[in-house]
């Protein structure tokens, strides 16, 4: 066996690290051995055959990688539920932080959307929007995952289901957003308070629907169908409360910032609304720590 074949086999071995860990543990060495044997046999005939064997292997690898990773996800990791328990204070804090960062990112993206619109085609822009709008729920899910102390693999499941909820929410709210755009186009015909009311109601409708689907996605990740129903409702309430309370708090804060700095940064509004929505979500999901009961005191056997 030549040194070049040994080198190629080593590279192949490195590529096999892309397979799930369990698969690697079970088959990696065997696969490298068979691959090396294939190359050694091809080398006896011609160098072209060696190149062909490598190419053939490379072409087949991505599909099999995908199949194997999907099978890992299918095999319980994605559907499997686990018992979760959030301490209320930590859940509030972490969910609020996740949501806040996510919503600020949406706001930042919103400021560059016109620039992006000049560069990207419409479908790509919509895709970017869809992805960005999944960020708050994904971050919130990750934070809740940290609070619940879930395993490393569970984060993938949480991320995927939360993103699925986010995408679904974005798609479902499409008609509401279209109506809102149509209303805003006739902004000149409204008085200031009518304009603000319409804006708030649309925002409420969009974000409550979002909250519902985002919550459903998170719930599915954390507790299967049962969690899905529970989290969906909590998500809706959290967003409704977060928006209403956040909107009024943020208006007051923004006007004060404007007074002092001469700026009215919209990310303040969004971060307050996000933090409140996340906080409410965390509050509903978390549990108060039960005081430790002394078994001796409980039974009265002093």
């Amino acid at each position: 066996m030549t040194a070049s074949i040994q080198g190629v086999s080593k590279i192949y071995g490195m590529l096999l690290r892309l397979f799930p860990r369990d698969f690697q543990n079970e088959f990696k060495q065997e696969m490298v051995d068979v691959f090396t044997a294939n190359l050694a046999e091809a080398e006896k005939t011609s160098t072209t055959l060696v190149v062909r064997a490598c190419f053939f292997e490379l072409c087949d690898l991505p599909v099999n990688l995908l199949v194997e990773h999907l099978s890992v996800l299918r095999k319980g990791n994605i559907m499997e539920t686990f018992s979760y328990e959030f301490s209320r204070s930590r859940a509030v804090l972490m969910a609020a932080l996740g949501m806040m960062v996510g919503w600020v990112l949406i706001n930042v993206e919103g400021q560059y959307i016109h620039t992006l619109a000049q560069i990207l085609p419409y479908w790509a822009l919509d895709l970017v929007q869809t992805i960005v709008f999944t960020v708050p729920v994904v971050l919130c899910g990750m934070m809740l995952g940290i609070v619940a102390g879930v395993g490393r693999r569970a984060f993938l499941r949480i991320g995927l289901w939360a993103a699925a909820g986010g995408v679904l929410g974005h798609l479902v709210t499409f008609p509401i957003r279209m109506v809102n755009t149509a209303i805003l186009a006739r902004a000149a015909t409204y008085s200031q308070w009518e304009y603000e009311l319409v804006g708030l109601l649309t925002l409420l409708a969009v974000l409550c629907t979002y909250g519902f689907f985002n919550g459903a996605g998170l719930g599915f990740a954390f507790g299967g169908w049962k969690g899905c129903k529970k989290f969906a409702l909590i998500g809706l309430i959290a967003n409704a409360v977060g928006i209403l309370a956040g909107y009024f708090i943020a208006s007051s804060v923004s006007s004060r910032v404007y007074l002092y700095l001469g700026l009215q940064p919209s990310y303040i509004t969004w971060s307050i609304m996000g933090a409140l929505a996340g906080g409410v979500l965390g509050w509903f999901l978390g549990k108060e720590k039960q005081p430790k009961v002394d078994p001796v005191m409980q039974t009265g056997n002093v």
């Binding site: 696969m31 068979v34 050694a40 292997e57 087949d60 099999n64 990688l65």
Partner: protein
């Protein structure tokens, strides 16, 4: 096996069927399975290593094949090679697939004969 479960597994993919049939002659190690499949299919089906092992993994999980120790003859690097064998369940699956293919063939033959007439 329940008929509903049989519906889920049949028809088998060509790769799966060839691997099962290659093991029907006796236990083989991975490299030998690949070569046997190539020979059985007259060089039509050439398995990549990743396809071979992802399929073997699935067959092992389904209990259609099993590992039976190591080949006494080591590979070129001197490492022992793991040997795979068809299980009773695997043999049963081949039987089911054989019946399905025979029925299909009979149907095609009947149809062709009618059309010829």
């Amino acid at each position: 096996m329940e008929p509903s479960k049989l519906k889920d597994i049949s028809p088998l993919s060509e790769t799966t069927l060839y691997i099962l049939v290659s093991l029907a002659y006796g236990p083989l190690h991975g490299y030998a399975i690949a070569k046997e499949v190539q020979a059985l299919s007259k060089n039509r089906v050439i398995l990549s290593v990743s396809t071979l092992y992802t399929t073997l993994k699935r067959l092992l999980e389904d209990g259609w094949i099993e590992r039976v120790g190591e080949d006494p003859e080591p590979d070129e690097a001197g490492r022992p090679r793991k040997v795979y064998r068809l299980t009773e369940r695997g043999e049963f699956i081949i039987g089911v697939e054989k019946k399905r293919l025979q029925a299909l063939l009979a149907l095609v033959r009947t149809r062709t004969v009618r059309e010829e007439k």
